[in-house]
Amino acid sequence: MSASSVPHPPVLEVENLSIAYHDGIAHRRVVHDVSFRIDPGEVVALVGESGSGKTTTAQSIIGLLHANGRIDGGSIRLNGTDISRWSDRQLDTVRGAKISLIPQDPASSLNPVKTIGAQVGEILRIHGAASGRDLDARVISLLERVGLSEPALRARQYPHELSGGMRQRVLIAIAVALKPQLIIADEPTSALDVTVQKRILDLIDELRTEYGTSVLLVTHDLGVAADRADRLVVLQGGRVQEAGATKVVLAAPRSAYARQLLADAPSFSAVARKAPATAREKPLASGDDVIIVDGLVQDFTRTDGNGKSFRAVNDLSFRVRRGTTHAIVGESGSGKTTTIRAIVGFQKPTAGRIEIDGTDLSTLRGETLRQFRRKIQLVYQNPYGSLDPRQTVFEIVAEPLLNFGSLARPAREEKVRAILSRVGLPEPALDRRPHALSGGQRQRVAIARALVLDPDVVVLDEAVSALDVTVQARILDLLDELQRDLGLTYLFVSHDLAVVRQISDTVSVLKDGREVDGGAVEDVFERPGSDYTRELINAIPGQKRAALV
């Protein structure tokens, strides 16, 4: 902070900003007296748990608060001018030209029915920066600049023809088109794979230095913030808990909340402390393999009707010993979900053998398959989607018991209560419905449902990816504890290597449906057997800090 002080006035100065939403009857203030500043060329990260007001703050700066949001007080000064009370018309001249935005979700941030070229060109046209042939040329050079191959082709394509990472590059091209003074990047990579994430963040960094633009980076990932930001602003409940130079905050967090954030971030813990020894400490009877996957192949026929099949999983084999955790990692589309859906019996494999606790899955169908489900349970990636919105927590957790009809009503009730308190859900949550629960609570319900049948194996598909670090840490602790107490076997799917390293014993790294690396976690991490694994490991954010400490 002291370093970049005197000569230049700050690009942005936010002072005592307060923002409230009103929903019909009540005003609810979600941002309280937030102040911070961004100097030219500087990256400031806004960190905090979900709902802490990060997006709200960012939106207010670019004047795009929701219709029901209102700035209650404070000022937002852009180059010394307070724009917090400007009309839309005034702001239109600033948006895109002086402040631009890189949104969170590249999938839905581009208009699906317009070409990429038109959407990049639009910002130039709105501000009268180019037209005609010149426009096309500028669009193509911008696309090229953000690292898109065949920019002329891309300009003619539609968003759905591009991958998530490519789309985010297009959005970045739009954001930098007019060389704005400030770019607001709201979780620019949280919807992307780790490897892609790293490349995108690198690109933003590169352009920032090239154009001298300042960046307000909104993120809940402390690792990302640590790697990229000059200064941190830590928000909780709409209040600034701590602000200061990244190094300072990370080295010696002053507020309790910042300390906790730091402790929960897996990217740090993975490096800072060895994964807590779980089942690994227990002596294991060798040969007690609960899951045996042998030569698994899964083909899908593509829907475009040309009959060509697509191989999502290709000759995958691994074994999981009882009471341990096996992780499957890989980037999006690598076949992780496909694999586990075959393992839990939702999908008949094209070839290969799957054996769970001695039962060959291919022999099961109908009632035997139903009975088999007692042994293995799946926890979904998206807890909200996997819980019936019309059922109460109690009904959800009691349903598996009901399905197998093994318990009388009082016993069932008792069991449900027991398991719910086991996963740490408060008693009053029992008759709430999923929408009235937080993300972490929902995931606990999903876990409780999986556990209520006393299964041997629990399969977790990205079970913590959607949660913010604090909640994620709680859930991981819970899983660890349950495994220890109940002797569960976990099959854990994730794209987050930091998490994997923290909790699993063995791992399979998938790429395009093939296993490129596998074995004990330590071995894979210390001595990666493939470039791909190495790339994955390098992409783990937070390494800058690790280097610092």
Binding site: A97, S109, P112, I126
Partner: protein
């Protein structure tokens, strides 16, 4: 693609045949028939023997399945038979009635689309909450008014009280003013409702925020980003609207004495003029099938996501 088209064509033929058969059975099951209705009329003063002779001459007493086969055979050769009630060939009647309905329906639909668009776009552009509220309750109101009642009221007010447009012996375009409004009102309501909802949905999607962040004004965003995206899903209710258009046409044509298929349907049902009804059903099923086919083929043209089907998963 050609396989897909063939498949669709097969389905279309099936729908046509099934509509024909169902209507044939329905008509056969009705008490009485056109011949009875026409000739048992005491005004004609025919005795039972004469009526029996007439029945025989129409071959109306042969076995049902024979009639079914014969009718299908006739239809396949493009012969729709004679209207018992009116005494002219059905094809002549259709030719005489179709233009009026086509005009009424297409103009009615156009006006409905304009109503709907005005309601939807003005209400999302206006900065005034009360205008927005008022406009958005218009579809509900439109949907609540009985069509025939509206028609009669419009005639009373605009033709008889204010004497703005004649309903009797009007010019070719004057003739359409009130009926088109009458028809457009009930049709515009569901259109407007769907549009308003779609616009609301699209307005909250992130790409709109991105466009705004580029510095685009509300109007710019509405026209260049929202409009097309909001119109697309509206196409899906085309099939349902078709039915409403026909139902609306029957009533409108009856009220205004227009000489269209709608009014003809009403009269033909009344006199159980089987040949006419059979032809109308086949035509309407044909129109339905064609409209749906067009909509299906139009979707990929308007929505690039549907052009390459496999790409949709990416």
């Amino acid at each position: 693609m050609s396989g897909y088209l063939l498949n669709r064509l097969g389905q279309a033929l099936f729908v046509l045949w099934a509509a024909f058969t169902i209507s044939f059975v329905l008509l056969q099951a009705m008490p009485g028939d056109a011949i009875l209705i026409k000739f048992q009329n005491p005004e004609l003063g025919l005795n039972p023997q004469q009526i029996a002779d007439i029945r025989a001459s129409y071959a109306a007493d042969s076995a049902i399945w024979v009639q079914y086969i014969q009718t299908i055979g006739r239809f396949l050769t493009g012969n729709f038979g004679y209207s018992v009630q009116v005494g002219v060939p059905v094809s002549t009647m259709l030719a005489a009635h179709l233009p009026a309905t086509l005009k009424l329906a297409s103009l009615g639909f156009l006006l409905a689309a304009i109503f709907a668009a005005v309601i939807a776009f003005v209400s999302s552009l206006t900065p005034f909450v009360w205008i927005r509220g008022a406009l958005q309750s218009v579809p509900s109101l439109f949907i609540s008014i009985p069509t025939f009642w509206l028609g009669i009221m419009l005639i009373q007010i605009f033709s008889f009280r204010l004497k703005l447009v004649p309903v009797i012996n009007p010019g070719p375009w004057q003739e359409l003013i009130l009926p088109v409004i009458t028809l457009a009102v009930p049709i515009s309501a569901p259109l407007a409702q769907v549009l308003v909802r779609n616009i609301d949905d699209v307005l909250t999607s992130p790409f709109v925020a991105v466009a705004r962040a580029k510095g685009a004004t509300r109007q710019w965003v509405l026209w260049r980003h929202v409009a097309k995206n909001a119109l697309l899903p509206t196409l899906t209710i085309a099939g349902v609207l078709f039915g409403e258009l026909i139902a609306g046409a029957v009533v409108t044509e009856t009220v205004f004495g227009l000489n269209g298929i709608g009014g003809l349907t009403g009269r033909a049902v009344g006199s159980q003029d089987a040949a006419v009804l059979q032809a109308i059903v086949v035509f309407s099923a044909l129109a339905f099938v064609i409209i749906n086919l067009i909509v299906d083929l139009l979707f990929p043209v308007l929505d690039p996501r549907l052009r390459t089907k496999a790409g949709a998963t990416a």
